[in-house]
Amino acid sequence: MITLETIAATGVFSVAWLMIAVPALMAGLLLISGKFFDRTGHWMAVAASTTSFVLAAWMFIQMLGADPEHRAVSVPLYTWINSGTWKIDAGLQIDQLSIVFALLITGVGSLIHLYSVGYMAHDVRRRRFFAYLNLFVAAMLLLVLADNYLVLFVGWEGVGLASYLLIGFWQHKPSAAAAAKKAFVMNRVGDLGLTMAVMSMLALFGSSSFEAVNAGAAKLSPGWATAIGLFLLLGAAGKSAQVPLQGWLLDAMEGPTPVSALIHAATMVTAGVYLVVRSHEVFEMSATAATAVVIVGAVTLLAGAWIGTSKDDIKKVLAGSTMSQIGYMMLAAGIGPAGYAFAIFHLLTHGFFKANMFLGAGSVMHAMDDDVDMRHYGALAKILPYTFYTFAMGYLAIIGFPFFAGYFSKDHIIEAAFEHNLWAGVAALVGAGITAFYMTRLMLMTFAGQKRWREGVHPHESPKVMTVPLVVLAIFSVFGGLLMNAWIQEWLEPAVGNHVTEISLVPNLIGWLTLAVVAAGVAIAWFVFGGKRTIPDVAPATRNPFTVMGRNELFGNTVNDVLVVQPTMMAARGLTVADTKAIDGGANGLVTVFNGLSTQVRRLQNGQVRTYALTMALGAVAVGVVMILSQLG
C-alpha cells in the first residue's frame, strides 16, 4: 500500500486557496454588480480564471522541481465542522493528481473563457454568463483540490449548480430549461450515492479525509468496501453521464457551446473518473466494485459511440463521443493500478481534443447561424480554415492517429483492458473502431461534400479571440500525448499508486490491431459518407434497429420514463388521492366533528342569565358532591 506523504505548505502553496477564491469572488462580484460591469465583466472573468491558471502553473513548476516524495502538499485552511465527535477540517491537498487537474481546469478553462468573449459577444446576459463560468471554475477547483470527501462534495454540488445554471442559460428556450432540470435531477441521483459513500466513510473511519479513508480502506470488510465502492460509482456515474445515468448529457447540449466544451466535455464530466481514481484504495479492496466500474465504463463507451453514429446534431455527436471517451477512462480506472495513470492520461488528452472539437463545433455553429444539424453543413473546410484545421487535429487525436494525443492514451487503455479481461479489451477495441467511424462521418458531413446550407446563411470564419484558443488547443491535441506519454506514469505514481509499465513508441500486436480497426472505421465512413455521395437533407427513414436505437439515444429516456418517471408519477397520483381522500378527509372530518361539537357546546352559552345561574348551581352541587365523596373515601 502506498500512502501519500504530504508536506506542509510553504511559499506559493500557502496561498493555494486563492486559486479558488479569486474566481469565486469574481463570480459573486459580477453577479451582484448589476449593470456596472456589463462592459468589462467578461474580461474580468478571463483575468480571474487566468490568475488561477498562473497560480496552478507556478505550483506545478515548484512541484516539478521537488523530488517525487515531497511533491504533495497539504494546505489546512480552517476547522469547518467541530461538533461533538465530528471535527472536520477544510483543507486543500495539492498533489500530483490534483495539480494536473487544476492545470487542465484553469488552462482549458481560461482558453474557453477567452473563446466565450467572442462567442457570447452579442448576448445581453454576457456578464452573468461569465459569472457562472467563474463560479464553475471555482467549484471545480474546490472539487479537485479538496483534501477530504466532504469538501469535495461541496465542490461537487457547486459544479452541479454551475452546470444547471449554464445548461439553462438560455432559459427562454423551454428545451434548455427542461434540459437543465433534467441534468440537475439526474445528478441528484448520483449525489445520493456520493452522499451515502461520504456518510459511510464518516461512520466507519470517523473522518472523510482522503488520508484517513485511504489508510483505513485496507481494514475494511469486503462488504463495506463493495458498498462504498458502489456508492462512489453511483456518484461518478451521475456526474460523468455513465450508464445508467447517461440521459442528461445529450440534453445538456442545449447550453451555450463553450459550456459544453468546458463542463460537459473537458472537466466536470470527468469528475467521476477523478473520484474513482482518488478512491482507488477502496476499489482495490473490492473486486466487485472494481468490476462494476469496468462494466459501466465498457457499456458506456459502446453506448456513447453508438449514439454518436446516429445523431445529426453536431453537438450531440460530440456529446455521445464524450460519454464514450469517459467510458474509456472509467474502464481504465476500474482495471486497477495498471489503469489509473492511463485513465488520467486519457482524461487530460481528451480534455484538450474534445474541448478543441467542441469549440470548433461552436465556431461552425457561429458561422451557420447557430444551426446544429450536420445535414445543413458541408464543404466548410475552405471557408472556415482555422476551424477546419484545428478540428482536424482534434479528429486525428480522438481516433488515435499515430503520435496524436489520443493515440497514446487510448492505446494504453486498450492494451491494459486486454491484459485485464478479454471482453473489456474487445469492447475497447470495438469502441475505437466506432469512434473512428462516427468522427469521420462528422468530419465528412461538416467540412466535405456539397454545400447544403440553408438560404441566407453566409459562413464566415470566427474572430481571432475564438480562433486563438482553438489553435492552442489544437497544438495540445497534437503534442499533448507525446509530451506526457513517458512522464505521466512516474508523475502520478506517488499519488494514485499506479504500476509503472514499460512504454514503447513502437506499437505491439494490440497496437497494430487497434490501428487496423480504426482504419476500418474510417474506411467504412468514407464509403458511406465520403466522396461524391449525397447526404440526404433529412435523416432517411430506416427500420435498421441499430440506427433507430442510436437516434433515440438507445431509448435511455424511455427506459427512465418507464422505470422511474411513470412509477413515480403513479405513486404521486396515488399519494395525492390518499392525501385528499384519507388525510384531508380525516382532517376535514375531524373539523366537521369539532364544528358540530362546538355548535352543540355553544348552546350552553345562550346569553340567558338564568341558564348561567343554573350552571353555577349545578357546578356547586357537583363540587360539593366530589368534596363529600372524597371525605367519605
Binding site: N606, A617, L618, G624, V625
Partner: protein
Amino acid sequence: MIPLITGAEITFWIAGPLAVLGGIGLIAFRKAVYAALSMAFTMVNLAVLYASLDAMFLTFVQIIVYTGAIMMLFLFVLMLVGVDTPDSLVETLRGQRVAAAVAGIGIAGLIVFGIGGALAGVKPVGLEAANAAYEGNINGLSALIFGRYVFAFEFTSALLIVAAVGAMILGQRARVRHKLTQKELSKVRMKAYADQGVHPGSLPNSGVLARHNSIATPGLLPDGTVSDHSVSETLAARGVIVDAPAMSKATAELFGSIESTMAEEGEE
C-alpha cells in the same frame, strides 16, 4: 326522658313553616308585588326566629332595616317599573324548571347531608352567659363591633358610601341632546300636524259631568261620542274608565223627565 318542650321550640315550629310558605310564595306568585309581600312575610318570621334565638338586636334590625327599608325599596322600584302586568309563568328555556328543581334539591341535600348530620344531638350552649358579659345583647354586640370587628365595620361604612354614590351616578340620566326650546317644540308639533294630521293644540280635558269629574271620566265630543284623548292611556289600559255616554244618557233621561213634569205642571 320526656323531651322538654321549650318556648323556642314552639316558636320554631310555628314561624319556621310560615317562613317556608313565604319563600314558596316568593317564587310562585305571578304578580311581583305579591312575591315581594311574601318575602316580607318570610323576613318577619325570620325576625321572630331571631328573637327565639336570643338575638334581640338582630330581630329589630331585621324588621326595621330589612323588612322596613330594603323590602320597601323593592316595592318602590316595583311601582316605578310598572306593576300592572303580571309575569308570564310560561317557561321559555327548555328544561330550566326541572334542572332548577334538581339543583335546588341537590343543594339542599348536600347541606343536609354534609352539615346537618354533624349537628345532630349538639347541645346548644345558649347566649345567656355571652349576653350577660356585657349586660345585654346590644351591649355585647357593640363591644364586638367596635372592638374586635372595628375595621370590618369601618369598611362596611365605606362600602355604604360607595353604594350611595354609585346609585346616584347610575340614577343620573345624562342628556344626550340639548333641551328642546319652546320654538322647536312648536315646530315639531306643526310638522306632525302637516305630516300625520296630529292635532297641534292641547289635548281635551277629561269630562266634567254632573255626577263625575274625575280624570277617569272621558270628555264627550259635541255629537255625544267619547274623545279618546281626554283620558290617560294608563287608566284606559287598566280599564277603570267611567262610561261617560251611559252616564250622560241617564242625566239626559232625568232632565227629560224633569222637563216633562214641569211642562205638565205648566199646563195645569
